[in-house]
Symmetry: C2
Subunit: 182 residues, 2 copies
C-alpha cells in the first residue's frame, strides 16, 4: 500500500542527488528490501515513475506556496518565504529542486517527464508573477523569472560547493534589489 509512496520517496531523494539516469529500480528495491521486479507492479515503466515523481513534487510545492508564510503583503516577507522553501531543502535535506536536476538532463529524459518539468516551471513562475503584480512591482513577470532563475542557479552552484556561501550571497543580493521595487 505505502510501497508506492516509499518508492517515490526513495526515488525522489536519489534523483535529486544524482539525476534520473543514475537511479535504478534495483537500487530502490534494495533499499526497500524488495526485488526490482516488484517495483514494476507499482510503476510499470521508469517513465511512469518519473512522471509520478514530478507530479507529486509539484503538488507538494503548491502546498508550500499556499502555506501561511507565503500569505503576506510585504514584498520582503514573500520573497523570504519563497527563498526559504529552497533554502530549507538545500541546507536541511541537502537536496536540489527535483525539476532543476531533471531539466539539466532534459534531452535524455522520456518526453512525458520533460513535459511535467516544464509545467512545474511555468506554474511556479506564474504564481510568483501574480503575487508580484498584486504587490505592485514594476515588472512583475520579469522579476518572477529573475527570482526563480536565481534560486535554481544558486542551488546548482552550491551542489559542488562546500558550504552555502554562494547560495546565501546570491540570495542576499537579490533580496535587497527586489524587496524595494519602486
Amino acid at each position: 500500500m505505502n510501497s508506492a509512496l516509499k518508492i517515490l520517496d526513495i526515488a525522489e531523494r536519489r534523483m535529486r542527488q544524482a539525476g534520473y539516469n543514475t537511479v535504478s529500480y534495483r537500487d530502490i528495491a534494495a533499499e526497500m528490501g524488495l526485488k526490482s521486479a516488484s517495483l514494476h507492479y507499482h510503476f510499470p515503466k521508469k517513465e511512469d515513475l518519473g512522471v509520478a515523481l514530478v507530479r507529486r513534487y509539484a503538488e507538494k510545492f503548491r502546498d508550500q506556496l499556499t502555506a501561511s508564510t507565503c500569505d503576506t503583503d510585504l514584498p520582503h516577507e514573500l520573497i523570504k518565504a519563497f527563498v526559504n522553501i529552497y533554502a530549507n531543502a538545500l541546507k536541511k535535506q541537502k537536496l536540489l529542486c527535483l525539476c532543476l536536476v531533471l531539466a539539466a538532463e532534459a534531452d535524455g529524459l522520456p518526453s512525458p517527464v520533460t513535459e511535467e518539468v516544464k509545467k512545474f516551471f511555468s506554474e511556479n513562475i506564474s504564481w510568483l508573477a501574480e503575487r508580484f503584480e498584486t504587490l505592485n512591482f514594476e515588472r512583475p513577470a520579469d522579476d518572477a523569472n529573475t527570482m526563480f532563475a536565481l534560486l535554481q542557479g544558486a542551488m546548482v552552484i552550491s551542489a559542488t560547493s562546500d558550504g552555502y556561501d554562494a547560495f546565501d550571497a546570491a540570495v542576499r543580493s537579490i533580496q535587497e534589489k527586489m524587496a524595494t521595487p519602486q
Copy 2:
C-alpha cells in the same frame, strides 16, 4: 591525431544535452565511425574523459572572458558581454553550460569530475567579483554570485521551454538592477 579532439567535441555536446551518465563510449564511437574500444586509447576511463572535458571547457571560457567584448569599464557593457557568452550558447547551439549540467548530477559523478566543476564555478564567480570591484559596485562579491547564479538558473529553466522568453525576462530584469550599482 585529432581523434581526441573529436571525442571531446562529441562528448561535450552530448553531455550538455543529456548529462554525464547518458553519454556512452559506444555512442560517441558510432558517431565517429570508430569502435568504442578505440576511445579507451585516448581516454582510458570515462572519468578521464569527464575531467578533460571540464578542463577544456573552463579554458575556452577563460578565453572568452579575456576577449575584447569583456574589456570595458561600463558596467552595462560588461554584464551584457558576460550574459552573451551563455545567451549565444543557448540560442545558437541550444546547449546549456557543461558545468551546470554536471553539477546537477554531482553526487552521481566521479569525484575528480565534480572537483573540476567546482573549480570552474569559483573561478568564474571570482573573476566577475573582481571586475565588479574595479567598477566600484557596492557589493561586488554578492553581485557576482547573483549574476552567475541567475544565468545558470535562466539556462536550466529554458532547457524545457519552447522559446527563450524565460531566459530573456530573467536577464532583462537583472541587467537593469545591476547596471546601476549606486
